[in-house]
Symmetry: C2
Subunit: 341 residues, 2 copies
Amino acid sequence: MEKPATIKDIAKRLNISLSTVSRALRNASDVNPDTKKAVMALSEELNYQPNKLALSLRQKQTHTIGVIVPNLDYVLSLMVRGIDEVALEAGFTVMVCQSNESFGREILNTRRLLESLVDGFIISVSSESKSFDHFKKIQERNLPVVVFDRVTPHLTAPSVRIDNEEGGFVATEHLIEQGYKRIAVLAGPENLGVSNSRMDGYLNALKKHKIKKDPALIVHCDFNQDYAYFATLELLAMKKRPDAIFTISDRMAIGAMLAIKKKGLRMPEDIGLVGFNNEPVTSLVTPTISSVDMPSFELGKAAAKLFIETMHNKENMDLEEKVLKPKLIIRESSQKLPTKK
Amino acid sequence: MEKPATIKDIAKRLNISLSTVSRALRNASDVNPDTKKAVMALSEELNYQPNKLALSLRQKQTHTIGVIVPNLDYVLSLMVRGIDEVALEAGFTVMVCQSNESFGREILNTRRLLESLVDGFIISVSSESKSFDHFKKIQERNLPVVVFDRVTPHLTAPSVRIDNEEGGFVATEHLIEQGYKRIAVLAGPENLGVSNSRMDGYLNALKKHKIKKDPALIVHCDFNQDYAYFATLELLAMKKRPDAIFTISDRMAIGAMLAIKKKGLRMPEDIGLVGFNNEPVTSLVTPTISSVDMPSFELGKAAAKLFIETMHNKENMDLEEKVLKPKLIIRESSQKLPTKK
DNA sequence: TTGTAGGCGTTATCAT
DNA sequence: ATGATAACGCCTACAA
């Protein structure tokens, strides 16, 4: 069983033509039941596998989806699993590339996947990306592009995301309801849509509860633990320091938590904290950290489904926007009042 | 710029033959500098990209590596990034599949990647796998297989791993040196080589320090937090309970930690704890957990390098075995004595 | 230095 | 119902 068998081999051994074998294999319309049986039997015996390369070359479709993600942290790796699940089911193979949050890398990934002749893309943009021309070029080639999780208004494409505004809102309102008055927000880079939406939610909650927004309490910093740590230290050094912090990711919440501890402040008594993503680590640290949970696996599945739909009717690309609902998980870091009921 | 340009297009526009263009593109030996220049210019203008499918079909090489991993947790995702890094550099594309620790899934992944005509495999076996025939079949097809991280004696292949025995040894000896007397080990499934090696290290450390091994202190359980939690509860319920636990993964260490806390015991005073992998979470929980660190990213890079070597001289496949050194990171959970020096 | 032709494995078109 | 042939895009003897 050295070299994989080909249609040719089968044809030769059966003394029939290539085309007949080909037809028999795909149990086409006109083909003698007997020959079909013979072909099937032999192909079984030779363990025949159609050569995907040849197929793809012929029909100009690789049945491969290029997936670009900024990283493979807990949440994204769940999403990718969701994508994989659905894609496989639908006969697609998935090629995952990490941009490592780098714009240059993202462009490189795009090019490579394009060279690999993927049939389309499912992407979550890097936090560094301010231009989206590389993705637009894909669309110009008439390849379907679905954006997930990190959606951006600068790229017009069908998308799947969670309701980030809602997430920011419930997190903030929860803090307000717990009696916190000066609520700061640790947001990500200014160009990141996800971050801005969550911040909008924060602002909406303030407005609803008639709390004046204080620019000093709104901090943009890099999407990572260390930056969040230092940003929090600065917040806590203010004359009128905040009495609660909403961070738009759990990584940042961890950074904030470390800074708060470093300052000798207690959660939730002295200061409240809510994160975003509901990573497992939030329930392992002391105190456990409240966080906005999102259905990551489901989101991935939805993205793949949307991709396949888009693929199938390229004509009426309605720019569907699917939005899933987040859910606040309340833990120790923000629960100042005893639980109701 | 609708359809990608082909060699044919260039040839037509330049009124020369396909082969000349082909040669010019790969700046082959015999080709008129002028025509070459013309070809280059036009190919630039048309944004020509060689069609990988056609290339692969022709030269029977896809320049793609199939990577199968049990999951994409912190450590493995780092390793995959390492693989990716090196592979890209060498002109290879990587296709990553997760087996989700499932044997059946692993077989499926293998088949799919084989169908995708990958040039070879870099794999880390699932904890469930007891048979390795699916991998042996790959080798019979004469495709290079490199095993990394989770190596198994049942599969003869070049491999990269860390010195797990050493890791188990230093973790255990550290506990002994800290004065712990009854050291339990939470091992993984019995068929998992990694787990057994780490356990061997544990046993060696006991032997070196003339501590009798107590079978009751050796517990096999599934490679995950919940099982570790319950296993630890049982350990702690013993009449003569252990005064230290070495778990062969951090996930399990977390489970153990939760159980220890649940029982109201303190670390390191009442009980010592050391994990394995040095996941970031170990330094976030309270107390921080000592853990054996391994150079995951480097390990991934080494695996890819080894793969490429193997690929290049298939003849003398020397079955190279690369072993990297782990390093114990001491934290609060096991540091009973004051630091020396 | 350049062109012609055959082939990689498959499918689709057109005959037979 | 089956076969011959061209084509997908590229490379490479071999011929010119």
